[in-house]
Symmetry: C2
Subunit: 155 residues, 2 copies
């Protein structure tokens, strides 16, 4: 596979963002590659060769990405290879996941609040505010998604 310098740069950029989200380096590069490559369906070998990583690194990273639902693959009859691709149509799920994380953090804050020394009034007030805001955002986000869908259709 041929990658332009521009493409390599973008893979790096996406890789860095994805790493910051907690992905390991090899997996993060694979994500970048699958976003950028001319053909969005790549085989195991193409990935290994494009990123200059070992088969074991590729195998581990691909399985991790499959487990975390960030990629998927298809096969074709009479061809043993798997064709991996980013689940880009899947971003709604990823979005939902982030919301869950937020909710659960809000709940931890609520728990903290229940345990807190009641004498630290100002501090507790701020904490309660934060917990409440997180809850609010969480409630509002699904509506935001709906509105966006509507707006799209409207156009």
């Amino acid at each position: 596979m041929l990658l332009t310098e521009k493409q390599k740069g973008l893979i790096e950029k996406i890789g860095i963002v994805t790493e910051r989200e907690g992905m390991q380096p090899a997996a993060a590069r694979i994500v970048g590659l699958l976003y950028v490559a001319d053909n969005p369906e790549l085989t195991f070998e193409e990935i290994v060769q494009a990123l200059h990583i070992s088969k074991s690194a590729a195998s581990n990273a691909l399985n991790l990405l499959l487990q975390t639902n960030r990629i998927e693959y298809t096969t074709f009859s009479g061809d043993r290879k798997r064709y991996f691709r980013i689940k880009v149509a899947n971003w709604r799920e990823g979005f939902a996941k982030k919301m869950e994380d937020m909710t659960s953090f809000s709940q931890v804050l609520q728990e903290v609040l229940n345990e807190r020394n009641p004498e630290t009034v100002e501090f507790n007030k701020n904490l309660a505010e934060l917990a409440d805001f997180l809850k609010y955002v969480n409630n509002q986000l699904p509506g935001l998604l709906e509105n966006w869908e509507k707006m799209r259709k409207g156009q």
Copy 2:
């Protein structure tokens, strides 16, 4: 400082969330401690003792947290100690930061889109959708914050 089992558990929970956000372990536990401790203003030594970490670990972690604007400290005249506390009133800033991250990812996706093979129509469509949604959410979130403030005042 005396910590109940419940408090220790909460420090751990917050620590794990904070680590997942990219903080190093010691810093993440300090964050947890400052949320949970009865007194939300702790000295260097109290932190060292409460978390059983070395002075150097505490020093590094506290400076990291100061730099990233997650904590601050006050001093009192005639007392050389610094009293560290979570910038919990500061969550709006943290929120803004997350939004920026989102925007910049949306921009990377836009760049990817500009470079993409135009023949992969479906893929490109999904990508464009994602980029557009991120942009949309970004535009809407400030209004969400405003509405929340209004709602608060209204109550």
